[in-house]
Symmetry: C2
Subunit: 428 residues, 2 copies
């Protein structure tokens, strides 16, 4: 008899079926016992009246893996309107030890550090696993949207020879006796691959030796990176980003609907055209002094409220950040060179995506590095490629864990990461 | 005027269009000049007769990025039957420096080390970029097949606290002052996540500090990992692997057809049921002594010939490898405990995939480690999870670069890797 999933039970009323999963909860009443079995699709209620079966169920701790053969019986008061009656219950392994916290309650009562210490068990809670399903759907939507637009997926080195992008916050490692570093982003490689494939994306781990112990920093996170050539300027990148976000969110709604429901979450609509304000306007809207070089979190919140009020949008582009605050490869606004063709996308008043147009002329790279007093040598492989013809291009990067945390309303990115890595945490 | 790609030209005969790309080749004849422009879709021939335009083209080195506006004109002798006439040519950047080797010849004449030193340029050669497209399609097919079978994509830590799987060949790093290591595989995490999501897969980098300088070893490669719970034994895993390979190869044929053609490659058919032989039979078929503990490359080649001859199959499963040669988490064959429920999949006589059923009982892990004289402590987080109920499960891992190299007939995995990392190579 083929195993079926709990969610398939309503289609089998009257039939004898086989299910399997984890002992999620047992309720041992006087005349009847209920065994709740959890599987990948949800839970199933098993009604036990036979004394021998009851004795077997009593001996199984929560989380024991079991197989149940029984009759699917309609019962309007049971979850999903069906339950399994007249069951046989067979453990698929020895009895489990009880979990360190109750998994059957609507939310985990254990503190986040305790959950993280016991991640293999904590992730089994339906709210924790639902977030992993939302993440998987988000990544699938990211790829599908870009695939449909001629992007090619690439895989780039995570071990690099020089600590480039920011210098600080890199993990150093011993590479066959030589110093090496973990890549903080695929930025340079995705640009080089624009010279090969025109449009590329990568979904992969990036590493930041973040000394910050906050709710939104991880030492390893999953970066959704895209880069495209033959753009006019950053606005072409913003168009692709808008479509990518819309496709990503549609896929989350399509593929992770039950997970969203369980988390009381819904995907926000993405306007056909996301409102955009220049950095200088953004300062004025936020009531910040005109000479501020960057937006503070309070400014971003004010902008989020403004976008909702004025445009009915959860999303807002801020363009033209000052060059001084953007990385050296950022393309300036030709009309106002102190401002960049870089942008941030705010979601409900918090930065969600960073992107922009990049420099594409070799001489511009040399000038940009010289202006910042940085040597060319650590960037030589990267900068040299621009001598061989690169089109105007740009791109963006989305941090998967932050995106998912925002979507599902998690206060801490660790709640939506299977096995987070941070300043203090290297296990499990 | 919207830019179109070279492959779209035949649909626009008679129209004025805009294309853009790289100066792939110039042929400067007496009365006419030909400019071959390469873009993401292929190449386009531009016919230049106007002296001013010719002078501009003469000034552009190969690889300069250009935009061409011209009339699409049918010409049966031109590639794809069309060419652009009466063009204007505008560089999108300054002239490039000539590439270190000719990109317009059918194959790159530069040695592989030279190509790798100049990877951002070498990858522009159509044969090199075609391999990247095959890899992208393979990964897409892997995911699509597993998505359709209820697998959930996961992202696991690449920085781990103990050098587990094999002990040797790990990269050590400084993690906020503590020793840590780069993960050699997501093996333990994917198993733990079977306890959460039942069926999971991951596509991500794995790291091996391989002291071997061979045509098939990389220090970082892309591993396609899958793991599934509630199996009867390894044969359920083999069924999923068979379907995954078939779906992967179908997607390569669908999405990377032109790339395969360019590489003179074709995807092999996957039999509805891949022939399988037990390790003991395999030794006999290969003419090896019955007490050999493993298959040597020559044995694998003999088995590949046998599978082709006897079953008309490029693929052959070898099951039941001796336990002594498999990792400690391998499930033994209950009927013959010296042999495992592990398998290899050979493709044309070379190992392509390794997989098998894993242990799922806590006591079995303790016994397996004790038998090998290994301490439990480094594996504590992993082993402890099996106290909380894990179903019978198994999985497999496919090395992307080796798979693609085999598919396209590349002698060295570095030919199909954008920026390989090995014993000697840390850049670009």
């Amino acid at each position: 008899m083929q195993r079926i999933l709990s969610a398939q039970l309503p289609a089998h009323v009257g039939a004898t079926v086989r299910i399997a999963g984890w002992t999620h909860r047992r309720r041992l009443l006087k005349s009847v016992a209920f065994l709740i079995v959890r599987d990948a699709a949800g839970t199933a209620q098993v009604v036990v009246t036979d004394p021998a079966v009851r004795a077997a169920v009593e001996a199984l701790a929560e989380e024991t893996v079991v197989e149940v053969v029984g009759t699917v019986t309609a019962n309007p008061t049971a979850p999903a309107g069906v339950e399994l009656t007249d069951p046989t219950v067979r453990p698929l392994g020895p009895p489990a030890v009880p979990p360190p916290f109750d998994l059957f309650r609507p939310t985990l009562s254990a503190t986040l550090p305790t959950q993280l210490d016991h991640a293999p068990v904590a992730l089994r809670h339906p709210r924790r696993s639902a977030a992993l399903r939302v993440a998987a759907a988000a990544v699938a939507g990211f790829r599908a949207t870009l695939d449909a637009r001629g992007f090619v997926e690439v895989h780039t080195p995570k071990i690099v020879g020089s600590s480039t992008e920011s210098g600080a916050n890199v993990f150093a490692l011993d590479y066959f006796g030589r110093p090496a570093y973990l890549a903080q982003s695929p930025q340079f490689y995705k640009q080089l691959l624009v010279g090969v494939l025109e449009r590329v994306y990568e979904v992969g781990p990036v590493f930041r030796a973040e000394p910050h112990d906050t709710a939104r920093h991880l030492a390893q996170y999953t970066s959704l990176d895209a880069e495209l050539g033959f753009v006019t300027d950053h606005r072409d990148v913003m168009t692709v980003l808008r479509d990518t976000l819309a496709g990503l969110l549609d896929t989350v709604a399509d593929r992770a609907g039950p997970a969203l429901t369980l988390l009381d979450a819904a995907v926000p609509p993405v306007p056909a055209e996301i409102p955009a304000v220049h950095f200088t306007e953004a300062l004025a809207i936020a009531g910040a002094p005109a000479d501020e070089p960057d937006l503070a979190p309070a400014h971003e919140r004010a902008l989020g409220e403004w976008a909702r009020r004025e445009h009915g949008s959860d999303f807002l582009f801020v363009t033209g950040y000052p060059m001084a605050k953007r990385p050296f490869y950022t393309h300036p606004d030709p009309a106002r060179p102190a401002y960049s063709n870089g942008f941030d996308l705010l979601f409900r008043g918090v930065e969600l995506v960073t992107g922009g147009q990049r420099l594409h002329r070799h001489a511009d790279y040399l000038a940009a590095l010289a202006e910042r007093g940085e040597p060319v040598e650590p960037y030589a492989d990267y900068v040299d490629a621009f001598r061989h013809g690169m089109p105007p291009h740009g791109g963006f990067a989305i941090g998967l864990e932050r995106l998912v945390a925002r979507l599902v309303g998690a206060a801490n990115v660790r709640e939506v990461t299977a096995f987070p890595r941070d300043l203090h945490r290297l296990t499990p």
